[in-house]
Symmetry: D2
Subunit: 92 residues, 4 copies
């Protein structure tokens, strides 16, 4: 089963939270709020997006690259973890 289905509830919750943050961004722009506030709302939404992106990529690597018809070797698993760690650190 795909990670996006196995983790559906948690991913959906996070995507909805980002939607809320982007709605807040639309609102602060529309209400002509202080530019610093706009930047902060934008920055928070971007951070949440990056973090969800990292989560999706991690699941993609684990479920679709590593797992297949055959069980991955322990070397493959270790290499996958290294890639995941780096992807996460770039998307922080």
């Amino acid at each position: 089963m795909s990670h996006t289905i196995k983790e559906k509830q948690s991913l959906l919750l996070r995507a909805k939270r980002i939607r809320g943050q982007v709605e807040a961004l639309v609102r602060v722009l529309d209400e002509e709020r202080d530019c610093s506030e706009v930047l902060q709302v934008m920055s928070a939404a971007r951070g949440a997006m990056n973090s969800l992106m990292a989560e999706l990529l991690e699941g993609h690597i684990r479920s679709h690259v590593l797992e297949g018809k055959h069980k991955p070797s322990s070397q493959q698993t270790v290499a996958a973890e290294e890639v995941i760690d780096m992807v996460k650190s770039y998307l922080k």
Copy 2:
């Protein structure tokens, strides 16, 4: 006048487009669509967000750091352009 007010219509349009992309993300997750599709929708939304973030930072530098009571010197203007170019290239 703040750049977020001067450019209000264009910024608002872009923020609303991102809202649409995040709504699409919620939908593909909810409909349990293929993981590759989820990643693509997510990646497009993230790209649009980075690009709006770069735009907001550029405006912030121009309107609020560079411009003040006194006219900036041409050296200050050049230095600001260099910072803007780099910020843009990081957020591409």
Copy 3:
């Protein structure tokens, strides 16, 4: 055979070019050259480093995550390509 051995000559050449760029950075700082020049040299070195990092990660995914005792399925190969594309776009 590991990708860092298979591609040794090309990777080594790129690493040496980055070494040259970092030596140039040390030099412009030491010679108290104009700050804009320092930033440009630094920025070029950073770009080259990101690009080599992306190359190394791509090889790691292909050689060590995807390839193992068993041949990867075409779904696994496609998923790996998707991850590689995204990693590359983040490190541009």
Copy 4:
């Protein structure tokens, strides 16, 4: 006085440390060391480079965008700090 001169010793030290890290990268590639080790050395060098880049950009904003013939207003200073914080968080 430019920040790259005022902070010369500290910036130079950091640039030389990065040079050492890139020399280590050349060495591990040349000695055909384990790919995971290559990735770690590369990743550390890249992190140090990003952190020096953030430092240089911060100094550039403070010394060359903010400071000019006239003293910046407190609003300009606050806006500059906001830009610096964001640039730093992107280059972490």
